[in-house]
Symmetry: C2
DNA sequence: GGCTTCTCGTTGCGCTCGCAACTATCTACA
DNA sequence: TGTAGATAGTTGCGAGCGCAACGAGAAGCC
């Protein structure tokens, strides 16, 4: 069957391909920028943001990996780097000796603040500036229909 | 300045974050599927498609890297793998001894055909099924506004 | 209390891939 | 014809990160 059957509509295929390319172009540029100016990767940044955005600025390793797009092993190594740079410190848990917390340090907070400036300018330049406010909202709504695209879904980070 | 200045609108930021997550979730799933069923990565697949979609099914290495999202060095190694698997063969150029061609073999053509089946079903399941035809067209149009998202742009593959 | 099973974080290993440097070749210009 | 500069492809190296396996600890069940 189906030598030429349309398993996927042309528009969907085109949308997916453009998503792939857009992601690649933008992520690469933002990563280079963040890395050259602040010495951190996109994943580092994302992790720090997750910490800052929760009260107490402290999260369990597994929770961090769940909120970002990393596996637990990836998060272990990423946090090792952040700790080495003094952006984060580790804490143990009294009630459960297995768990380990990562907490934003004051220095980490400062560095994140500076990086935010750079990063948001980058997002604006490479991405936001090419949409009207309405288009951005539309795009966000459409992308939200993809399972796993909404923050809080548990798509892969927590797996394996 | 700007402790809380909005460098990027909330909608834009949300759109970017969702794009990031959607890409991660979908790409990971499609890659795993393609790899387990056909032993090839998403990049392999994309490269084979580029070859199939041009008359003569033959392209220069640099052209391949330009059309995919890979650097020339990445393409060198990727094509080495495809050649080892017999999906592609290398040819030299009569008029320019520097250039090297990659050409789809009959076997490569077959394998690609089979992989297409799997891959398109995957795209449909993880992506296309969550949009109406109209939404997909809208999404494609919006993503097309990102510089570099359109095929034929020369965003990064050709660089370095 | 023991036993099984689950979860947490870490580690060894391997893969993909970009960057920078290198060689070989082509092109331009004198 | 000689030489400088651009370009094609390859390679060494290293970063990022997922997977599978592991040890430590927690929780449920008898």
């Amino acid at each position: 069957m189906s030598v030429d059957s349309e398993l996927v509509s042309g528009a969907s295929l085109e949308a997916w391909q453009r998503l792939l390319r857009a992601h690649c172009v933008i992520a690469r540029e933002l990563d280079v920028e963040l890395q050259s100016v602040h010495g951190m990767t996109l994943s580092d940044y994302d992790t720090l943001v997750q910490l800052r955005d929760c009260e107490s600025e402290t999260l369990k390793m597994s929770e961090l990996s769940r909120r970002t797009m990393l596996t637990r092993s990836g998060m272990t190594r990423l946090v090792q780097g952040l700790e080495r740079d003094g952006l984060v410190e580790r804490r143990s848990c009294d009630s459960d000796a297995r768990v380990s917390y990562a907490a934003l340090t004051p220095h980490g907070h400062e560095v994140l603040q500076a990086a935010r400036e750079t990063h948001h300018a980058g997002i604006r330049r490479t991405f936001a500036d090419h949409f009207t406010e309405e288009e951005a909202a539309q795009l966000a709504a459409l992308l939200g229909q993809v399972p796993g695209a909404l923050e809080g879904d548990v798509p892969c980070g927590g797996g394996a």
